[in-house]
């Protein structure tokens, strides 16, 4: 079950600047539960995530794996937990912005101004960082000097097809991204060479079939092997060195490459969060344990991304942190408002918000 009817997407059609009470960075389990806890105290939230779907690590790393330490769920998979949390957050109508990474966060007179890599801008009274292990970013193959080629010859995603037009393109990897771009760039590029360590692909059967057809007619080239070296000057790639079996012998040889697209999966990196002027402790954001607020008032950090004495990186800890954060955020979003602590079991006001009465 995926509840996508209330999910807004990030690409296209965004207003120039989005006003919100709370902006949550990260749509993992803790970010989703923060929507719920903030909703109970009347705070509306927008949620940004770099992935194209909610769930964070639960959805990206272990959707099918059972989790055994969620209270009252003796066993639940990462995907099922995500689906349940979406269902629980649904009465509060969060707006999701997927496939975007928050680049900058700036303090203003009445809150914060936040901008993503796609240029979506937000004005928020409070910001909640629920970014887990950081943002999922493509893995960089450990090839000497690769940084110098990135953005000029080496790309981890195709943003502009024209950058590959009439070029000798090498694509490394054997998953869906590698195959999709092999198929899509073939009509545009001068040549496309797919390099993979084995003659098997863990991709959609339809893509694998199309790949085999193009290989059969010689429109693309497949080389079994692994990248060992990049050759070129000043960011301009000339060739890649490959090691692989040739006629039963392991050989190293060069293959022409003006563009390289390595697809080796995703890893988690703290990313731009490090530049927001927050107190960090070994790549984690220091918070207090009464409000889970960072060194910057109005910016909160909950879940795996934060650190405090006794911190345990458990989903259940993040849920507790979300509840206390919401109480503190309420005092910023509604200054002077008298707050009365209420239970969902008995409060008719909370039950109305949840849509159950």
């Amino acid at each position: 079950m995926v509840l996508d009817m209330f999910v807004g997407t990030g690409a296209g059609g965004e207003p120039a600047e989005i006003q919100t009470d709370a902006l949550i960075i990260g749509a993992g389990p803790v970010g989703l539960f923060a929507v719920f806890e903030l909703g109970l105290v009347d705070i509306k939230a927008h949620v940004i995530d770099i992935l194209e779907k909610p769930g964070g690590q639960c959805a990206e790393l272990y959707p099918e794996k059972p989790i055994y330490d969620i209270p009252a769920h003796p066993t639940i998979t990462g995907q099922a937990l995500t689906d349940r949390l979406l269902e629980q957050a649904r009465p509060f109508e969060p707006t999701f912005h997927f496939g975007q990474r928050v680049e900058s966060l700036r303090k203003t007179d009445d809150g914060f101004e936040v901008e993503t890599d796609l240029g979506t801008r937000f004005r928020a009274k409070v910001v909640v960082i629920a970014a887990g292990g950081g943002s999922f970013t493509p893995k960089r193959p450990p090839l000497a000097g690769i940084e110098a080629y990135e953005g000029a010859s080496v790309f981890y995603a195709v943003r502009k097809i024209d950058a590959f037009r009439d070029r000798a393109v090498v694509i490394a990897g054997g998953g869906d991204s590698a195959l999709d771009w092999t198929l899509n760039l073939q009509p545009v590029a001068k040549s496309v060479t797919l390099i993979h360590r084995r003659d098997e692909f863990r991709a959609a059967p339809d893509s694998v079939n199309k790949l085999r057809e193009l290989l059969a007619v010689g429109s693309i080239r497949f080389i079994q092997g692994q990248l060992t070296k990049l050759n070129g000057d000043g960011g301009a790639l000339r060739s890649v060195t490959i090691r692989g079996p040739v006629g039963g012998v392991e050989l190293e040889y060069d293959v022409e490459a003006e563009r390289l697209l390595p697809f080796f999966g995703l890893t988690m990196k703290l990313g731009p969060i490090a530049n927001w002027g927050l107190n960090l402790d070994e790549n984690q954001i220091a918070v207090d344990t009464a409000r889970f607020e960072t060194s910057e008032p109005g910016i909160f950090a909950i879940g795996d991304i934060n650190i405090y004495p006794g911190k345990l990186k458990l989903i259940l800890s993040g849920f507790h942190e979300a509840a206390l954060m919401a109480q503190a955020a309420q005092k910023i979003v509604f200054p002077g408002k008298r707050s009365v602590f209420q239970y969902t079991t008995s409060s008719s006001s909370l039950q109305r918000k949840l849509g159950v009465i």
């Binding site: 990206e60 790393l61 272990y62 450990p142 993979h196 098997e200 080796f264 999966g265």
Partner: protein, 106 residues
């Protein structure tokens, strides 16, 4: 106790005690063996606990499952002896196991 030896890329040898039922990755992390990142925590989802199983042990550890083989596509410098250490569960027959850690976990 099951003794397992990790050899780092630079030649540093770590011989540590593992327990039956524990994975090789868990044993490495428990003893802070450098070079085993295990970013996903053992879900066979990241390929950052990559090791090379010494030839004489390959039969006893067995080969990678299909899922593990798929995940090895995300590792770097993959060889015939490559395994993900989160997928090797320690058992008495593996007492004395020797594995090498690659230079990079990608």
């Amino acid at each position: 106790m099951i003794k397992v030896t990790f050899i780092e890329h630079n030649g540093t040898v770590h011989t540590v005690d593992g327990e039956p039922g524990q994975t090789l990755m868990e044993t490495a992390v428990k003893h802070a063996v450098p070079g085993i990142v295990a970013e996903c925590g053992g879900a066979c989802s990241c390929a950052t606990c990559h090791v090379y199983v010494d030839d004489m042990w390959k039969e006893k550890t067995g080969g990678p499952s299909e899922m593990e083989e798929d995940m090895l596509d995300f590792a770097f410098d993959v060889r015939a002896s490559s395994r993900l250490s989160c997928q090797i569960r320690l058992k008495p027959e593996l007492d004395g196991l020797v594995v090498r850690i690659p230079e990079f976990q990608n």
